[in-house]
Symmetry: C2
Subunit: 356 residues, 2 copies
């Protein structure tokens, strides 16, 4: 006999996204959620220390206006071409809800950000997955078929591999009737951005986040850029769900971060230098390491199984990310940490793989 309450029959059925573990050990090395190992800019510290809690009794600025204007100025576009959300997950899920209402399936890669099928399911959007090539790259030709929309992470996650602007442009050109979302969460770490194309294609939405390159995952800021009609549609749906999403503290720190370009660039350079060093070291230990344009490495060892490395690292309080998913079940995704963290990581991997 079914003893579930009657109301459960009308609960939306979902398969939630499972984020990386958030362990909290004092001596741990956390390389599993692609956070930036360096603090945000000193300008963000200053903005934080200047916060006046008395102002928190009022609602935040409507549509996070001053942050939108700062982002527009930073990227040299109009403020009507910028939309801000609670991290890029908020922006992307709203974009799915806003733009993907056709009967035809939306298209994305079989191996990509695992939130895409989750959003499709929660909003009841049909979708089809395009298989990556054997080398885990995306074939632009796969997206030249009937569909209800396209979403591509570029560079892709967890593969770390980027596409060129011309490859992405092929995809956009093949899909004038639907919205094409390019998720550039990791683009600042050496990828090619298609941002300049938003003035050429009115159906292109470019999504960014403060969580990786700007060291502000904890303050939840993401944004989208595109033709003003796209941004207006996003705003209309957002205003139909929650008038005020970005809080006053995030607005202030988001603006402050944009004002310190030198720190931003130096931070990116540090992460990329460490990434290249670790990549070479891992290759010497017998790893296949994909050419990364992100702040993480996607690696597979020639002899030692990924699960074994994963577990043995965990025993040493080093957390990396493992996806139990066909085709990548022997890979690990490793966030690039500080030089010191990566030294300890490499030492542990050397022990585990027996390469001394």
């Amino acid at each position: 006999m079914d003893k579930r309450p009657e109301w459960t029959a009308h609960v939306r059925r979902v398969t939630p996204y499972v984020p990386g573990e958030q362990p909290n050990e004092t001596d741990m090395i956390k390389l599993n959620t692609n956070e930036n190992p360096y603090p945000p800019s000193p300008a963000v510290f200053e903005a934080c220390h200047n916060l006046d809690p008395a102002a928190f009794s009022l609602y935040p600025e409507l549509s996070a206006g001053s942050l939108v204007r700062s982002l527009a100025a930073y990227h040299g576009i109009s403020e009507r071409e910028v939309f801000v959300g609670v991290g890029s997950d908020d922006v992307l899920s709203l974009a799915f809800l806003t733009f993907f209402n056709a009967d035809k399936p939306i298209l994305f890669a079989d191996i990509t950000y695992s939130f895409y099928p989750v959003w499709a399911e929660v909003y009841r959007i049909p979708f089809a997955c395009m298989a990556l090539r054997p080398d885990l790259t995306i074939d632009p030709a796969d997206y030249d078929r009937e569909n209800g929309g396209v979403v591509i992470a570029n560079p892709n996650a967890p593969t770390s591999i980027g596409m060129t602007v011309s490859q992405i442009e092929d995809v956009i050109r093949a899909n004038p009737g639907v919205v094409v979302i390019i998720d550039e969460a990791y683009v600042d770490f050496g990828g090619e951005t298609v941002l300049p194309l938003i003035s050429k294609y009115d159906n292109l939405l470019v999504v960014r986040t403060y969580s990786k390159s700007r060291s502000l995952a904890g303050m939840r800021i993401g944004y989208a850029m595109g033709n003003e009609n796209l941004i207006q549609a996003l705003n209309d749906v957002k205003e139909s769900i929650n008038s005020y999403t970005i809080n006053t503290a995030s607005i202030r720190m988001g603006i402050a971060s944009l004002g310190d370009e030198q720190y931003f660039q130096e931070n990116l350079q540090k992460v990329m230098r460490t990434r290249e060093r670790v990549k070479e070291a891992l290759r010497e230990m017998g790893f296949d390491v994909k050419q990364s344009q992100t702040n993480f490495l996607f690696v597979s060892h020639h002899t030692v199984p990924a699960t074994e490395i994963f577990e043995k690292l965990k025993q040493r309080h080093i957390y990396v990310r493992y996806f139990s998913k066909k085709r990548i079940e022997n890979y690990l995704r490793i966030t690039v940490g500080t030089e010191e963290q990566m030294d300890r990581f490499l030492e542990a991997v050397r022990e585990i793989t027996g390469t001394f």
Copy 2:
């Protein structure tokens, strides 16, 4: 000829909620969005000053765990009975998406929080509006009919009028097969809460906010309490949209606010005392003023039209809320401000209505 791009055919059609104006004049008196006129507790100031931006490079705690635990302890319930969101609008919209998936219409009052029909539209939920009685109170018997769910603001907005626990319990008892949401955004200002009923009815969801009674509208914190199966369903849908919504700063300040009960109660008393004084003063000036259990007053003048008072107050940089809606088109909603703000407000109203 239709020149709209083809992709616009698949954009979700919505009629966004229109929040109250957010003017920004130095000498203004803002009584239009029901914010608290007093700052948050000194404990919140301390939590803010103790924020360490270095920690913002990491994602916030999963599911805002420590805030959930603090709320559970504060209300004397289990942490599995608490869900936290980005303001109560986030919580309520998620609850609509999660629980209202039947073919039958959900029910709410014809005059109530104007976001309810907006959420129903964006998520394509059928709905029916139950007319308030002529005195603008809710008739519990209206909710004893076939439906796909019920949502009641108690006390109701913009009427300011509350229902008793026993009236609400009648509604819950009549609806065992669907989820009943009681939106208690204003309950701290003298309303009757149905929170104790969550252990008795597994289909009751009680929603609260930090935006009014806790003076933290700017930090965006709302929450729901209910049977753990309801909370689990909400969490599953939330985790299917955005893993991290409440940022690190909001978590810290949200916890700090709960720790200062004395300030909280004194703040509430101050607002309620001012409310009663202003109510009497307005009645003396010829206003019909509803018996308020909120931090605002819902008023109508016997001779001077609401629109005229609204416009003339605005000329004096005093902002109140007017709803151009049948049956309440001659009412104004006035947030209770500080004693000084209300003195200036009353003086202005005296001039406008000619009562000296």
